[in-house]
């Protein structure tokens, strides 16, 4: 099995599996971390998992050099996701800092003033 993995070429599925793991890790991190920064990290992981999928769908190597999939669009979308993730991180960090300024903590469980 191990030898198989080492000698067989990788395909899109491989990437998707890694992406799924990253995604789920991120989602669970978001669900379990009480630290706002931790939640942010979870988001980054989720985005990365998605990005991995995009790149995998767009890669021709993973299809044995043949065309297909989403082509360059995958990389382009990944690029946009990365850039927008940077923007999101900036705002999220600003929000976290503000949250900290107002609550003296970054525990997201403390920020439930707007609950119903």
């Amino acid at each position: 099995m191990t030898i198989d993995l080492l000698t067989q070429p990788v395909g899109v599925s491989h990437y998707l599996v890694v992406g799924a793991v990253l995604f789920v890790s991120g989602a669970v991190a978001m669900a379990t971390k009480r630290n706002a920064i931790g939640v942010l990290m979870g988001i980054e992981l989720v985005l990365n998992g998605a990005n991995l999928n995009f790149v995998a769908f767009g890669s021709s190597y993973l299809r044995g050099g043949s065309q297909g999939g989403v082509g360059l669009d995958g990389q382009l979308i990944a690029m946009f996701v990365i850039v927008l993730a940077a923007a999101e991180a900036a705002v999220a960090l600003a929000i976290a800092l503000n949250f900290y300024n107002n609550h003296a903590t970054v525990d997201v469980d403390q920020g439930d003033e707007l609950k119903g």
Partner: protein, 215 residues
């Protein structure tokens, strides 16, 4: 049958995939914010390696530059905001962990099922061949793609696809403006305002002026 030669592409894929997944899970399990950030950096770096392996040089470099660099900033914030007690931990209840694990497991199962169930996504049958890892040209096609010129679809039969759709120029511009707005907005949000009374704040106060000196 002779054992096939090792496929370096697969080898490095496995290496990076393992690193990425391991450290993602490590980040999930760690409760020290700085270590979390460190694990995250490693995981993201490994993902960028995966990008390189998939022939997406530019995106990989972008990932390294922005994500990993950006995570450094996250790290700094982690340090700053948890600096009151040096290694502050915020415990999550066991029940919540269990719930999250169940739900996350379901999600993972669903995703894996989806990932492995499409034939088209299965590995190509090129036993022992190493697809080129490097020397790919992705920056120029990406740039042209943004402009709407698709070098990957020159032999596309559908003329509307081939002759260029509108490209991503407008989204590109929107994103740049968006970034600018976000920068300004973030600076606005994070500006120093009145502060609540500090319960124990010597460390906080020593850190604060240094940050504000970065204005």
């Amino acid at each position: 049958m002779e054992t096939a030669a090792i496929n370096w592409h697969s080898f490095f894929f496995l290496l990076f995939a393992l690193v990425a997944c391991t450290f993602a899970v490590a980040m999930l399990l760690s409760s020290n914010i700085v270590r979390m950030a460190f694990y995250l950096v490693i995981s993201l770096g490994a993902v960028s390696g995966l990008f390189f392996l998939a022939g997406a040089d530019f995106v990989g470099a972008l990932q390294l530059m922005i994500y990993v660099g950006g995570t450094v900033v996250v790290l700094i914030f982690g340090v700053m905001l948890t600096a009151r007690a040096p290694f502050l931990r915020m415990r999550t209840g066991v029940a919540q962990w269990a719930l999250a694990a169940i739900v996350g497991g379901c999600l993972l199962a669903v995703l894996l099922q989806a990932a492995l169930s499409v034939d088209e996504w299965a590995p190509p049958s090129m036993v022992g061949e190493n697809p080129p890892v490097s020397n790919t040209y992705t920056a120029a096609p990406l740039g042209l793609g943004v402009l709407g010129v698709r070098v990957d679809q020159l032999d596309e039969e559908d003329a509307t696809l081939r002759n260029g759709m509108s490209g991503y120029l407008l989204p590109f511009e929107i994103v740049s403006i968006h970034l600018l707005v976000v920068l300004i907005g973030a600076a606005y949000l994070a500006r120093t305002k009145r502060r609540p009374k500090e319960p124990t704040g010597d460390r906080q106060e020593t850190v604060e002026p240094m940050i504000s000196s970065g204005k």
